[in-house]
């Protein structure tokens, strides 16, 4: 009797175990495609052979799974995936898995992966973020791969590379150059009888133009968010300063008056209805593709030159658009524009296949076919040979962007050092909610807002330097 019962409980236990086994099997990640024994991790030793003779697709080349991540819009996703397919065709032993997201989803994803020691091999990087990643030891220098010829940089000038260097080592390779601009609607300007702005126009001119267009046509003079911290950076740049000091331990300006004037100007334009109100801006959550400008309800819109493609596309083929430089502060010393690596490629220290990662970066930088797919979507490519090769294929918006950048050449200010690590916290917690909104909603005066900004930002920046 007991024996029987015991047999049954053993049976039940066995059943439970089976169930667990089944569940855990079902939940386990899909089995790896059957290939070489998984213990072949130190592939790096083998890899050079594969790269010196990339054409040879002999079986001796080890199968490698490369991971690549980027952020962007749908256009970029589609094009980049096509480039990856091309890369896989060229190197049949490399299988690429990729992950992409919007800019705001990309960083939580990447930092979480970094915490888990699971960063992809190739990672798109941003000027405001990469130094933090370098300081945390998450990126590797690319210099060895440039030295051994894995990444070829023929004819690429140093000023295009310097933005990706920390302590003289190149950690992030420029994936394309852009600059800041206002896209303007030529038809509206003409109808309102306003001249196309000169390259050295000021914010006073901007305000006059906005008001005049609004008075004549009833549309907004300008759309978009002019409290974008990037525009404020340009404002101070034109005064020979910057948002942050060279060492990143304080703000780059000691006199807040230009910023106070800037806010006052925006309040005036908001009052005159030549600028979209803060209320409507918060309510309608504009994007590059969907805003008052693309809807034909405003005459000017701030965009980086590589984003202009999306703006032109969304605005439709019937509009006559043109790019002009960013206005300067009144009494400016130099241009408010600068050339910026719009984004970078980098290899992470958690990469399982750094060599192949470098190979992909080289492919992206130097392959004519790949760049004929991308068509400068990440900004103007750094390689002069590539630029010449893709020029005939560029869509009108990119031709305009390329011409715009060319016209700026020799007339831009030098780029500021990368943003300090606290930039993100200052913008998210202080600039937007405690300065911009209260000023634009009329709760505090521009002077009080700027004072608060300078005090709080300097406090955070100073605290950041403590060991």
């Amino acid at each position: 009797m007991f024996g029987k019962k015991q047999g049954r409980s053993t049976f039940i236990a066995l059943l439970a175990l089976l169930l667990i086994a089944a569940i855990s099997y079902a939940c386990a990640p899909a089995a790896q495609p059957t290939q070489a024994p998984p213990t072949s991790a130190p592939a790096a030793t083998q890899a050079p052979a594969a790269t010196t003779a990339p054409q040879s697709t002999t079986a001796s080349a080890e199968n490698v799974e490369l991971r690549i991540a980027w952020w962007g819009s749908q256009v970029r996703h589609d094009q980049t995936i096509k480039v990856i397919e091309l890369f896989e065709q060229k190197y049949p032993n490399i299988k690429v898995t990729y992950e992409y997201a919007t800019f705001s989803d990309y960083w939580p994803k990447m930092t979480t992966e970094a915490a888990g020691g699971n960063l992809p091999d190739v990672m798109q990087q941003d000027y405001a973020y990469y130094v933090g990643f370098v300081n945390d030891g998450l990126l590797v220098p690319l210099d060895p791969y440039i030295a051994d010829g894995t990444i070829k940089l023929e004819g690429v000038t140093d000023d295009l590379l310097n933005g990706g260097k920390v302590d003289g080592k190149l950690y992030a390779l420029n994936a394309g150059t852009n600059s800041q601009s206002f896209v303007i609607d030529l038809d509206m300007f003409q109808k309102a009888g306003v001249d196309v702005p000169k390259p050295d126009w000021t914010w006073q001119d901007f305000q006059d133009v906005s008001n005049k267009i609004h008075d004549k046509l009833g549309v907004f003079g300008n759309g978009g968010d002019l409290t974008n911290i990037q525009i404020v950076n340009c404002l101070f740049l034109s005064l020979g300063e910057g948002l942050y000091s060279d060492d990143g331990k304080s703000l780059g300006f000691t006199d807040g008056q230009p910023l106070v004037d800037y806010f006052q100007r925006m309040l005036d334009m908001q009052q005159a209805k030549s600028m979209i109100s803060r209320e409507q801006q918060v309510a309608d959550k504009e994007t590059i593709e969907k805003n008052t400008f693309t809807a034909g309800k405003s005459a000017m819109y701030f965009a980086h030159s590589n984003q202009v493609l999306a703006v032109y596309k969304a605005a439709g083929p019937d509009r006559h658009l043109k790019m002009v430089p960013v206005p300067r502060a009144v009494g400016a010393k130099q241009s408010a524009n600068y050339f910026k690596p719009s984004m970078f490629w980098s290899v992470t220290s958690q990469a399982k296949h750094p060599k192949e990662a470098a190979m992909f970066i080289d492919f992206y930088t130097n392959s004519v076919e790949a760049n004929k797919i991308m068509l400068a979507e990440r900004g103007i490519p750094i390689s002069p040979a590539i630029n010449a090769a893709i020029a005939p294929d560029l869509p009108p918006a990119q031709v305009e962007a390329a011409a715009f950048l060319k016209a700026l050449q020799g007339n831009v200010s030098p780029i500021r050092p990368p943003d300090p690590g606290k930039h993100n916290e200052i913008t998210t917690n202080i600039w937007g909610p405690q300065v911009v909104d209260p000023i634009m909603y009329g709760q505090i005066t521009p002077a009080d807002g700027v004072k608060l900004y300078m005090t709080e930002a300097n406090k955070l920046l100073g605290a950041a330097t403590k060991p």
Partner: protein, 317 residues
């Protein structure tokens, strides 16, 4: 497989059974039970208890995901309480939401439950129809639809325009922004309504019958019979809704993003921003534990004062 079974057979002496064997076999039955719920147990310990313990430790560090955490003592709590104006804004917004949205939702749910508590033909179809908003309500799609409805060029403005009322930015205006979220919360009254409905069905009909014989009409009946008899259900709904109210996140995240002027910066949303926008995991862990305390205190207070107004039938006399 055989190696897995080993522990079971090992523990079982092959010797003839003694008195203790019965106890043992009972224990074996328990073990089988535990094995069956093992998937849940693993999930609970691995994905709930362990992370909670970790967050308690992290609350006292400056962990930011990409670098090892450093112990900073009570710094996070000190910053939170003394130097972070946005923290207090988030507390204020959350309390405002809990103390408006939750009572409104419960009143609305009770009202509809009363209307739907009859035996008219097709009543079950009505009940289902009224429950639908809460099935779809928490979804992303509804939040985005809500944005459209109350947008500057949305349907609400279009309707008001018909009556000559000029359009407003409902979401962009600091006075109305939070009310669009409260309205959405009230609209999702389905699950408390169902619970109220079940509670109403439990109230014995004789009570109403004898009350009407005594000449009491609908309102006195509602006040003197329905409310007291339903009070345990009301308490249950109140506690559940209050806790979920403190945790409100999705709607604000999608519709207002905390704006305008931080008036809808709910606690959970600010916690998320600190964790996944500025990557201050230590700070947000500290915030999470304070939220846990706040909820615990309010739940305890609700239970403590419930004896004053909740009526349990079995306690009669």
């Amino acid at each position: 497989m055989s190696s897995l079974v080993q522990p079971t057979t090992q523990d079982t002496p092959a010797a003839p059974m003694q008195r203790r064997a019965k106890k043992k076999s009972l224990r074996h039955d328990n073990r089988a039970g535990y094995l069956f719920i093992a998937p849940w147990l693993i999930g609970f310990f691995g994905f709930t208890l362990l992370p909670m313990a970790a967050s308690l430790v992290l609350a006292f560090t400056d962990y930011r995901l990409t670098a090892a955490p450093h112990f900073v003592g009570l710094d996070n709590f000190q910053t939170m309480f003394l130097q972070d104006p946005r923290y207090w804004k988030s507390v204020r917004a959350t309390f405002f939401y809990v103390f408006t949205a939750v009572p409104l939702r419960l009143i609305f749910a009770l009202g509809l439950a009363l209307l739907l508590n009859n035996t008219r033909r097709g009543i079950s179809a009505y009940r289902a129809a009224f429950y639908v908003p809460s099935i779809v309500g928490a979804s992303v799609a509804v939040a985005i639809m809500w944005r459209q409805l109350f947008g500057t060029e949305g349907i609400v403005n279009a309707l008001l325009w018909l009556f000559g009322i000029p359009p407003t930015s409902w979401i962009g205006n600091p006075n109305t922004g939070i009310w669009t979220l409260i309205l959405l919360a009230v609209w999702q009254f389905g699950s408390p309504m169902l619970i109220f409905l079940a509670g109403l069905k439990q109230i014995p009909q004789e009570l109403y019958e004898s009350a009407s014989i005594d000449g009491a009409n609908a309102w006195p009946q509602f006040i003197n019979i329905t409310i007291p008899m339903l009070s345990p259900v009301i308490l249950f709904n109140l506690v559940l809704q209050m806790i979920s109210g403190f945790l409100v996140f999705t709607q604000a995240f999608l519709i207002t993003e905390g704006g305008p002027l931080d008036t809808t910066l709910f606690y959970a949303l600010y916690l998320y921003q600190r964790a996944f926008v500025t990557f201050q995991m230590g700070y947000s862990s500290a915030m999470a534990w304070v939220l846990l305390l706040i909820i615990a205190v309010f739940t305890a207070l609700t239970f403590k004062f419930s004896s004053n107004w909740v009526f349990y039938e079995e306690k009669r006399d």
